[in-house]
Subunit: 265 residues, 4 copies
Amino acid sequence: MPDNDYKWTTGITKVQPNNLVTRGYRQADLIGNVPYAHTVFLLLKGRLPSKNEGRMMDAILTSSVDHGITPPSARATRTVASGGVPLPTAVAAGIMSVGDAHGGAIEKGALFLQEGVHRAKAEGKSIDEMAIILVRESREQKKRIHGFGHRVHTADPRTTKLYTLADELEIAGDHVALSKAIAEALLSETGKNLPVNVDGAIAAIISDMEFDHRLGKAFFLMGRVAGLVAQAYEEMSREKPMRRMYDPDHDYDGPEEGDLPEEYR
Amino acid sequence: MPDNDYKWTTGITKVQPNNLVTRGYRQADLIGNVPYAHTVFLLLKGRLPSKNEGRMMDAILTSSVDHGITPPSARATRTVASGGVPLPTAVAAGIMSVGDAHGGAIEKGALFLQEGVHRAKAEGKSIDEMAIILVRESREQKKRIHGFGHRVHTADPRTTKLYTLADELEIAGDHVALSKAIAEALLSETGKNLPVNVDGAIAAIISDMEFDHRLGKAFFLMGRVAGLVAQAYEEMSREKPMRRMYDPDHDYDGPEEGDLPEEYR
Amino acid sequence: MPDNDYKWTTGITKVQPNNLVTRGYRQADLIGNVPYAHTVFLLLKGRLPSKNEGRMMDAILTSSVDHGITPPSARATRTVASGGVPLPTAVAAGIMSVGDAHGGAIEKGALFLQEGVHRAKAEGKSIDEMAIILVRESREQKKRIHGFGHRVHTADPRTTKLYTLADELEIAGDHVALSKAIAEALLSETGKNLPVNVDGAIAAIISDMEFDHRLGKAFFLMGRVAGLVAQAYEEMSREKPMRRMYDPDHDYDGPEEGDLPEEYR
Amino acid sequence: MPDNDYKWTTGITKVQPNNLVTRGYRQADLIGNVPYAHTVFLLLKGRLPSKNEGRMMDAILTSSVDHGITPPSARATRTVASGGVPLPTAVAAGIMSVGDAHGGAIEKGALFLQEGVHRAKAEGKSIDEMAIILVRESREQKKRIHGFGHRVHTADPRTTKLYTLADELEIAGDHVALSKAIAEALLSETGKNLPVNVDGAIAAIISDMEFDHRLGKAFFLMGRVAGLVAQAYEEMSREKPMRRMYDPDHDYDGPEEGDLPEEYR
């Protein structure tokens, strides 16, 4: 029991003079011996990964690393950077934009797949059968299944590569299978080609790695942080502060200009 | 020339349907083949690292990964998380606290070392001579040299390990040498034991790797982001929202309680 | 129709050379003639307030202005400020902590009260009858009703004042009445004294002013921003960067220190 | 002396059960009696304003309230909002963009004017003489004087109104005079018409009100927060999450697409 009500307890890092122990391992041992992506796994799972799990984690981080200036996160980082602020403030703005609509499909997709696999087992259904059930239910309830389709990519090269690796590293299991089956069911049931996108692929793989779906957005932001640093640095080193970034042309549809009412004059 | 004044130009990632090219390499090739830390190097430098540079970058990221609940970044992340916000918002708060006083010694230290090495060459001085000159000047100007001494660690295990690696990987050069010489000069000139701390070690190593000092805080935050995710997740999964985190006992030294002046009543 | 797909439309402010028109009024007319709190009302509602509505809005902003160093927002702002960052970055960290658990009772409380009043009308119940129904249902479903009870204040002086004003200004209506009736029902049904807190009072009043409940947290943060500026400024002007802010004493309950497994050495 | 090393001291708000005392006044007294802008003055200065000081503060807040979708703060808020995050997170992103290049002219301008007035007195120069000296020195040193000129407004209506009020309220003093004299000197010495902009006007007025220049950005952000709330709310209520906000057309000038080097395959 803590000595007082406000004493904190943490299981992440023990700090002692000249020794830092993270999840049971000395940082002096981790540095240079355990690859960064494996250390990330250690931090989130509380144990070191197998070699294959570590390689998979590394691939996940790399798959989120940058998508140019197109997504809100890069735009937010560069826009805030243009205000003349320190690099970490600009990067933080990009991270803050990771929300339900941007990177959020990992969290929602993982929950959906985890519940789907659970239900298949509980109801004695095959993965393919469950995929068709889920797609039909979603259509009836007019709900979107997260992690499928992309506004730019019809065959997202990141998904293909992540799934190839997940097979090679023997990580792919029921959740990856279900995500593929859902893409097929979407096509057969609705006629729409909505392949698994990179968020959906990460959702499936971290589910097969038994991660909590609530960490979904974290995988995205841990990889993307490097891209956001590059975006902020490019803005700060190649552009002027407060450059004219955006076409000022827009429509105003508020009330017409008028005088203040009598009582305010 | 751009077609309009507001067209952006970026050298980071080319986005095409079904193809993402980052600094000249297809992301589908990077994923699973190039370790994440090497990809970070690619993003920041614009070229792939040598094997040794990649291993050094990996070690730098790991050396910043977490310092328990003691620094402002972890406190900020957990405090904001306790308000009941999404994980990325909490992590962003931690990243925003990376400033001149927290992680800032990397940036300032790198600039100081880069200027010192430049000056040694320009003035025909040895690294050891320059270290003594810099320490004496700093004493006279009552300026602090950034990257030396730590409030907890007298022999920071992370520095030791990073410097051992920098030697083994043949990365250590004039900047690492200067940082070591400054620590010795601080002892001989002032009698104070102020060894190179982890910020100072990173400052020296990234300088020997020819990184812009303005990226200093970025190395820290790219490593620390994983620790902040772990801190936010621990707060969200083990603690109640708005828990009593801090001893409310404090002193108030503002004006004594009184009535509003006549005109406001 | 916009000329291109990416053209924005806004109803807030029209920007012309030497003229700014906000919600139909020239800013040059608003400045100095329309009190700031009235202008806030104008921004959110799209029309100028009546004199009474303006005074009520002013009181709401003041009621959120500061709660010392006790809440997460003030702690986050001061913690981030201690990292050595610009004042706006520190203030932003405090604002980010405004979430479901901190200030969130305004949003949730407003929705609850608005649904309650709607239902009372639909079901032909009196406000007092509806209050008892809602309290009983919440008990059965083991759900908390937001906006009642406070960890420090048993009779929040801000609530008392806001409700007195809401009566005087003839703003108090069904939602204020329902909030009072719920507090009474909580006492009679559960024996617990959980009076309306300041969040609950704001929730009720903005509901009687016909604001969207989704703006709930905005009222809190627009008032609190001034307190957060004061907190950041006090930290920056009276304290040293990276001061020892928090008792480092804590418990570590992670794995015991051990060696890396064979394969990583 | 505090009982322990980590005890905080604040002069802002004393928190007691059922009583909150801010800068010496009970919040229950402030609410409804002291206008919000006057309470902001109280928070920052530690005393209530005179009637005229309070009115001036109110006008300053209103003068910063919104500038449509053109500045980085509004863009950042709406871009982050489009990621699907809570309203306070989006508003915080806008506040974070307030930096040296966006709102920063208030802080820099106030420091410049305060030093100028101080120097005029020390050197026995008139305000007009000092203006010419400062403009000439800035030209020689090729330094920009902050707070003059605007990319949209040649005669900023906010400046005109603020300066009229500052005269009427008998607040305008040496700093306002110096700012006007500098604008004239810029025209006579350089031939450029660079009138005082709204940032410059606020800088001059808060200097005549004897505010610390380090609070410069705070005046801007405290007024703008209401506009940012309106921007976030408009985005959330009128637009779809992740809408196509920006023309994706841009140039990529990074390295051409190529294969990974041998060692990575």
